[in-house]
């Protein structure tokens, strides 16, 4: 686990405000500012709940489509914060949620628990996307894992994808379950942050077991599954990876070769050497997991 830096919520709110302003008319802009200020000043909980719900009625739901400069500004404020896929209503909801006073930790979590427990799909996505931005992040670890139990794919992905919170705060078991469930619900592993750093022998074992189950049921195994397995190839799993390397689908062959290239074990090196065509592409950076 890496140690995240603390986040300046006020600076984040100011940046969010810059992003959404071009999308808002005067009425919406005033409404967002007024409600954000009221929440910040410790208004009654209902103001936060009803404003948070009503956001799309004022802001619409356009995609922000942030440019490279905006994304850099986000990363500078909170390393690892990815907002490239955020929409206007999500940003405005983030502003409201980040305005909730957090000085009294117990009162803060009482309010946040209520808003999470009553959240609809769109609200849940907005809240889980904010995980790396909230104050008292350790207090959100259980909540983040609850989000991963959702069968609403978009809610699951708000935690699992383009979000640095799991790599920074999850223990090994929670992180492993997130990766395994991603495979199970057809959610790409590509957008899981810190996958290569956080992979471990237990995860590799779980994923290979899962691949065996899928094969037994004549179902396709996502080629991405082999990425976190890669560093543990050699001795273990060599028959499996050989099977993938000989798959009819070139995407599966490529995944097997990439996984093999992540291991320095002699057996892995030897097997990869049987496919010089793929090895050369990998050596020249023409074939990557991206």
């Amino acid at each position: 686990m890496t140690t995240p830096t603390s986040v300046d919520q006020q600076a984040v709110c100011a940046l969010l405000r810059d992003w959404i302003n071009p999308f808002l008319n005067d009425k919406a802009r005033n409404w967002v500012d007024e409600k954000g200020q009221a929440i910040k000043n410790g208004s009654e909980e209902w103001v936060f709940f009803t404003s948070f719900s009503a956001v799309p009625r004022y802001t619409g739901k356009a995609e922000l489509n942030l440019d490279a400069r905006a994304l850099e500004a986000a990363d500078a404020l909170r390393p690892g914060w990815k907002a490239g896929h955020w929409s206007v209503d999500q940003a405005a909801r983030a502003m409201m949620a980040l305005s909730v006073p957090s000085g009294d930790e117990a009162a803060y979590f009482a309010t946040m628990t209520k808003v999470f427990n009553a959240a609809d799909i769109g609200e849940s996505v907005a809240l889980y996307q904010c995980l790396p931005l909230f104050p008292h992040p350790e207090g959100f670890i259980e909540r983040a894992q609850e989000g991963l139990r959702s069968n609403l794919t978009s809610v699951f992905q708000a935690v699992a994808q383009r979000n640095p919170f799991p790599m920074e705060y999850f223990g090994e078991n929670a992180f492993n379950q997130m990766v395994l469930k991603s495979c199970f619900v057809n959610s790409s592993l590509h957008d899981i942050m810190g996958l290569d750093q956080r992979t471990n022998a237990t995860l590799a074992h779980m994923l290979v077991d899962y691949a065996h189950e899928r094969w037994a049921a004549s179902r396709v195994v996502t080629p991405e599954l082999w990425r976190p397995v890669g560093p543990f190839l050699g001795g273990d799993y060599m028959d499996d990876i050989e099977r993938v390397l000989n798959d009819q689908d070139p995407a599966h062959q490529e995944a097997a070769a990439l996984a093999l290239s992540m291991s320095s074990h002699t057996e892995a090196v030897k097997l990869l050497n049987t496919r010089q065509d793929l090895k050369e592409k990998i050596d020249n950076n023409l074939l990557t997991w991206a």
């Binding site: 709940f49 009625r57 427990n117 799909i121 769109g122 978009s154 057809n186």
Partner: protein, 307 residues
């Protein structure tokens, strides 16, 4: 294919087979008003989880079948008779009423026409006025005519415009007054207890299509989630003009409930990419608003093989 809206159905009680059949029959959008579950609730958490389900899981589940799901939030009349519980539910309503896709406060009104029912009905009418929301009225099964009149009286007393109130479960005895007073008149095609669709055909012949809405109110009882498309077919067979059928089985519901700002035709005809991401993400078959064809569904159903 003709498309339909079923503006009153309790989808949480229906199976995936029902969703498939509804979609295959042309139902593109549904409204699920909050109601009781047959088994009375005994604590407020049951209400909270139910409201969360209406704005969460059920919406997602419907979307997987290409059906856009909206809901109404409210305390039903039957359960308004437990005072302590009812008070707690009143505190929950502001947490849900302003959420996206909540088109009205409902279904609210009378069951036994008790004093407690009246009290919580009035409280919720005040909430609707305060938040500028529409109201869906459940008229009582017993004492219907008087209950319907009194429901409309209350709406007026509490400052609601008739054009923003949908009065449901009408019959031959109530429809005239509802229409004369400027409210929307919805009819529930529910076998045995409410309307039958042959009677519905006659009513449309008599009153025409203005402000008349057809729904199924299909729930956990013996009911029919295809009531709207079936009634449309029967109307066509019995010579009712196409435009009239479209009005009572689609346009009127859209016009009434789109006043909420939470429901528009584009939601299912040209869905917003953000909505698509939230509702369809990860489902390659349905992504981009594509829905399985009627043939696909039929073939899957007939097949002995489960993959």
């Amino acid at each position: 294919m003709d498309i339909f809206i079923d503006p009153h159905i309790h989808a949480v009680s229906r199976t995936t087979d029902d969703y498939e059949a509804m979609r295959a029959a042309g139902v593109v959008a549904i409204i699920e008003p909050a109601f009781w579950l047959g088994q009375p609730r005994t604590n407020v958490s049951s209400f909270q989880d139910y409201f969360s389900m209406l704005v969460g899981w059920e919406r997602f589940r419907a979307a997987q079948f290409g059906i856009r799901h909206y809901c109404c939030i409210g305390l039903n009349s039957k359960e308004a008779n437990q005072e302590r519980l009812a008070d707690e539910v009143m505190e929950l309503i502001p947490l849900y009423a302003c959420k996206e896709g909540v088109v009205a406060i409902g279904e609210i009104g009378y069951d036994d026409m008790s004093d407690l029912e009246d009290r919580y009905f009035r409280k919720q009418l005040d909430m609707a006025r305060e938040w500028d929301m529409l109201v869906m009225i459940h008229t009582p099964h017993r004492n219907k005519k008087q209950g319907t009149s009194q429901s409309m009286d209350r709406c007026i007393e509490h400052g609601l415009e008739p054009s923003r109130v949908i009065v449901d479960h009408n019959n031959e005895e109530t429809v005239k007054e509802v229409l004369d007073r400027g409210f929307w008149a919805a009819f529930t095609l529910y076998p045995g207890t409410k309307m039958g669709n042959e009677r519905m055909v006659e009513l449309v012949k008599e009153y025409g299509p203005e402000r008349i809405i057809v729904d199924s109110a299909a729930d956990w009882g013996k009911s029919d989630p295809l009531a709207v498309p079936k009634t449309a077919r029967l109307m066509a067979e019995r010579g009712i003009p196409k435009e009239t059928i479209r009005k009572v089985c689609y346009d009127n519901a859209l016009e009434a409930y789109s006043q909420s700002g939470q429901m528009k035709e584009a939601d299912w005809l040209t869905p917003n990419p953000v909505d698509q991401r939230e509702l369809f993400y990860g489902n390659s078959v349905l992504r981009g608003g594509q829905v399985p064809t009627v043939d696909d569904l039929a073939k899957e159903k007939e097949s002995l093989i489960i993959k």
